[in-house]
Structure formats: C-alpha cells, structure tokens
Amino acid sequence: MLMRLIIALLFVLAALPTHALMTIEIVGGASNRIPLAVLPFHNIQPDSPHSSAITSITDVVTADLGRSGYFTMLPNRDSVSPADPKNLSLSVWKRVGADAVLVGQVLPAAGNQLEVRFWLLDAVRETQLAAMAYTAPASSLRVVAHKIADQVHEVLLGESGSYSGRIAYILKRNGRYELQVADADSHNAVTITTSPEPLISPAWSPDGKRLAYVSFEDKKPVVYVQTLADGARRAVAKFRGSNSAPAWSPDGRKLAVTLSKDETSQIYMLDLISGEATRFTRGGALDTEPVFSPDGRWLFFTSNRGGTPQIYRASLVDGNINRVTFEGGYNVSPALSQDGKYLAFVHRRESSFHIAVMELGSGQMQVLTDTHYDESPSFAPNDRQILYATLVNGRGVLATVSVDGKIRQRLSQSGDLREPTWGK
C-alpha cells in the first residue's frame, strides 16, 4: 500500500512541471482507513447536455474522500449505481471488503436544474446510513459533490468534513501578484485582484463575503478590504508609515491591524464603520500578527517584547497580557481553531521553520511538519486540518496537515503560491 502511494507520488511529481492545473499529492495517511466504494452516479437522462458534469460528480467525491487520508477507495469502474438502491447487492461489496457504499442518481428538475440524490449504505450490516438530495444548476455540480463528500465524511467519521470550504492565497507568476480564491480542492480558482507589487496577508471576514489584505501598490503596505460579490474595495488603513496584518473581529465590524504611525509596529483596533484606529498595544517592542479568538475574548499576537519573537495573548475583557509560547527562540504567525482549543503557529528549530500546534488547555506543543520553510498556518472549518505554505525546490506550494500530524497533502500549481488562508 505504502509502496503504491510512493509510486503514485513519484508520478505526480514527474508530471508537475507540465501541468498548469493544480495537482494534489498525498503524503502519509490515517492508520485505520475506512474501505469505501463510490459507484458512478446513475444518469437518469443519458442524453442530458450535462452528462460530463454529471460524470464528474463521482470523480470529485472520490477524489475528495480519497485524498483526505481517512478512506481507502475501492475500485468502482465496472459498476454502476442501480436505478433503485434496493437492488444493490450489498453482500457482493462486503465480500470485496467494503465497509460502506455510496450510490447516487441524477435526474432533471424544474427550472433547468438537476436533482442529485445519494444513498450511503452500510455493506456489513446491510442498512442505510444516509440519504439526501440536492437540487442545483449543472454549473454547481462540483459544489454539490463537495457537499456530498462532507456528508459521507460526517456520517462515517462522526465529525464534519471540510471539502466544501474555500481558500484564498497569493499566486506570484510572471512577475505579478494575484489574490486568488478557490474551492478547498483548489479547483475553480478565480483571481480577484492582480498587482505588479506584492500582496500579502489575505484574511476572510467571518461571513466569508469579504477579504482583507495588504497591498504594496503605493510603495508601502496599505490594508484593503474587498467585497467578493462585486469586487469593490477600499483602503481601510493607509496611515503614515506601514499598515499591515489585518485580522477580523468575530462580529466582522473591526479589524485588528499593525500600524507604525505613532511608534514602531504596534497593534490597533480599526473600526470599519468610523475608520477610527484605537491603539491596543504599547511599549517599544514589535507587536504584530494579531488574531482574535473565535469567542472574541482574546487577541493573540506576535511580539519580541521578551527579546525573541513569541506568541502572546491579551484579554479583551481586562487587557491583561501573558506569554503563550516558551519553547524555542522563534514562534510566530498564530492561528486559532474554530473551537478555540488549538493554536497553530510557525516554530523555528535548528534554522528550519515548521508548523506546530499547541493544545491551549495543557500548553502541550507538537511540531507537525518536517519541511524547512513553512509559513502562514490556518485551520480548516472543521478544525481537523491546517493549511500552510512551504517551499519545494525553491517554489512556493500549499499544503495541509492534520492536527495530529498524520495526514499531509500538497496542492501544487505552476507559479509561486504563498499566504494561504482557509475560509468557510
């Protein structure tokens, strides 16, 4: 199994330079994978103009679940979903080792839409685990497929999947910088801003409708907020000096930002309606990379007030500040899980930069990666994976690692990728 994975990985690597599209390689996986069969979805109307889109549902679901590292996908090519799932012989699938079987069908619906139905069946106990239907235009079938993968993941593993989220990142190609938004599987990538000058630090608003980021188009860092729906944007922090590191408050009304207008880099609270910036940190040390805890009670940030850059946390209730990281001389770029229990950050060890995670309750820290130039961690919506950027052969790629460090994936694309952040 491991050998096959390695061979597949080598093929992926060999294919990389010629492919313009993003490819995904899997490094490692869970020790107990669930054997799962996804049968090709039955197209009720074979002459449908959307036949290829319908075929792709099966491929997307299979790819999502397959690369998660939690499932072993059984070969399905010779099978078809029966018109009625009652007619499926589950004992046959039990004999080939399947724990669960996903079958589905697609039929025309009102308003030129399609209805996608699926059933998740327990092959061992021969029972039904779930059955759902989605109605959507043909152009959205990829989204439907990600939703189905989420459902299967949740039913079989008891926790929500993160296949239907979106990611934002910066792509550097041909000397230009592009802010892109893509599905979590890196398909459907759309460039929303392009500039000849650097773009960094994209941050999703809590409702996923806006992105804040830093642009250097004015020969200095300025914080912008852009609405995804219409592409409209405005400079929200363009004070004297540098303006950077935007982080949204959980209610979406404020940004924590780093400004140098009064002293050196310090953290301010920026009211997005009034435009007023209120100073939050004081003292001559460098304070930057603020991030709110999801419950709005804490602001985590990076500071060198203790001599080396470390992560601190300030109470938004009483203003008390205490140090969070102690191990090593360089801990930066804090990111918090949605449940507020885990802190991901960049940890330097022997001049390499790794992604590490800390369980905040116990203070227990674990280094998750063995690559050397890891940056910009952010949690998946289900808190089970961390998205980050790293360098492979001098080129920026995006990667994910599970919070226990066991499952890793890489998302590659021609050009240099950096500054990823996972949205809803």
Partner: protein, 262 residues
C-alpha cells in the same frame, strides 16, 4: 577613461528611471459574479437546495423540501468565462510590468561602502577610479540626490542579522543626506526598510519597519524634521539579491533612502 565613466553613469541613471513606471493604472479588481442567470434578480435565492430523503427506505422520495435551501451558496458560483478573458489581460500586463519590479540599480551598488570616496569608485567600476575626480569630490561634494556622482547617490544601508543598529560606516552617508535635507527643506524622503526572507512575512515587515525607523531616528538627531521623512517597510517582499544563502540575505537586510518623486 572619461568615456567609460560616462557610459556607466548614463546606464545607472537610465536604470534608475526604469524603476518608476506608471503603475497606478495596473491594479485591477476582479468580480466574483454568479454565472447562472437563472437567479439573476434574486441573487440571495440559493441555486442549490438540499433535502433529506426519507430515511425509512432506500427508495427515493421525490418530495424535496425547499425550506432546507442552503443559503450563501451564491458565492461559489464563480464566473469561469469572465476569468478567462481576465487571464489574457494579466498576461499582457506582465510583459510590460514584470521586469520593472526588480530594482535594476542593485548590481552597480551592491557591496559598495557608503563613504563618498568609495561611492565614486563604484560608479566608475568599469575602469580604475579617476584620482583627480575623487579629490575634486572630497574638496567640494555635490549635494544633489539626482546626480549619480554625488555622495547622495549612496542610498542603501545594510544591517546585521536580527538587528536594526546602524553600522558606523554609514555615518558620513547619513550626515551628507541630513545636510542636504536641512538646506533643501522642500525635499522629502521615504525610508524603505527590508528584511531577509527567513520566517514570517508579517514579522519581517515589522523588522524592516524597525530598520527604516533606525535611519529615520538617526536623521532626526542630525536635525532633519519629521515632516520631511516617512519610514515604511517592504518586509521580505523586495530582495535585491534572489538567493537562499547568507550572502543574499546580508544584501537584503537593508534600508533604502528614496527621495520624493523617485
């Protein structure tokens, strides 16, 4: 001799000019628009609806529950068509803009000392330094930032690892700039701090800011008023030397002095 000197001066001057293209117009916003025209007006009406099929049997129920519609799906309907044309625009933009983002003055200035003497020496690096010229500048330095022969053409201060302390070798350089700025009180400076590529981009931005502020404070102490200067940082985003070793990093940890209009 003089001829070589002129050639190198002209090339430096031209490369300096190439660094200031009209970039304002090249920032483009992209729209994420719903592709499906079926829900054109009611953009909030979800194009995808989800419903639970009866759990009791395998048979499909045709009754779907529209109230279970998942809202917020609109954003995922991304216009692939609009993108394709945008991508073409980007490519054409790249051809004209891509090269200019580099700092062409890097090569001639790299590794030079900051004293006025060596500044002249480096400008005539294609030949041997002209001794009479050096003597002339020592006698009466030309304080004009636009003149590449002037000591004010020295604009780069390098820093040690994780440090924002100004090295002694830059004292004369800063004094020359201060002298000029006090005399020409309409002149404006932008001090751009930079960091090497290692570590977090945002933390490196703060480090670069600190390096710019060091130079700002030094000039301030030499009598240059706040109103004439702004300290900003470009972090690790604009290296002068592409490379992943100590020699590249030592060149990239720096503060650049830019006069307004440059």
């Amino acid at each position: 001799m003089k001829y070589l000197l002129h050639i190198s001066l002209i090339s430096i001057f031209l490369s300096g000019c190439a660094d200031t293209p009209m970039k304002e117009a090249s920032i483009e916003d992209r729209e994420l628009i719903a592709t499906t025209s079926t829900t054109s007006a009611g953009a909030d009406a979800a194009p995808i609806t989800a419903a639970v099929i009866s759990d009791k049997s395998y048979a499909a129920s045709s009754s779907t529950d529209p109230s279970a519609s998942t809202s917020g799906m609109r954003d995922t309907d991304i216009a692939a068509k609009a993108l394709a044309t945008d991508a073409n625009k980007v490519t054409t933009g790249v051809v004209t803009q891509g090269v200019t983002t580099q700092s062409p003055e890097a090569t001639p200035l790299a590794g030079t000392n900051a004293t006025p003497d060596s500044a002249v020496g480096s400008n005539s690096e294609s030949g041997k330094p002209d001794r009479t010229d050096i003597l002339k500048f020592e006698a009466q330095p030309v304080l004009d930032p636009k003149d590449p022969q002037s000591p004010l053409a020295q604009r780069r201060l390098l820093f040690d690892y994780d440090s924002s302390a100004i090295r002694d070798e830059y004292r004369t350089l800063l004094e020359m700039h201060a002298k000029f700025l006090i005399k020409e009180n309409s002149a404006r400076l932008i001090l751009q701090g930079h960091a090497d590529e290692r570590g977090s981009r945002e933390y490196n931005l703060a480090l670069g800011q600190r390096r710019a502020e060091s130079v700002y404070n030094a000039l301030n102490l030499l009598g240059v008023p706040d109103a004439q200067m702004e300290a900003v940082s470009l972090g690790e985003e604009k290296p002068v030397v592409e490379g992943h070793d100590d020699s590249a990093w030592s060149q990239n940890r720096r503060t650049e002095i830019l006069y307004q209009g440059e």
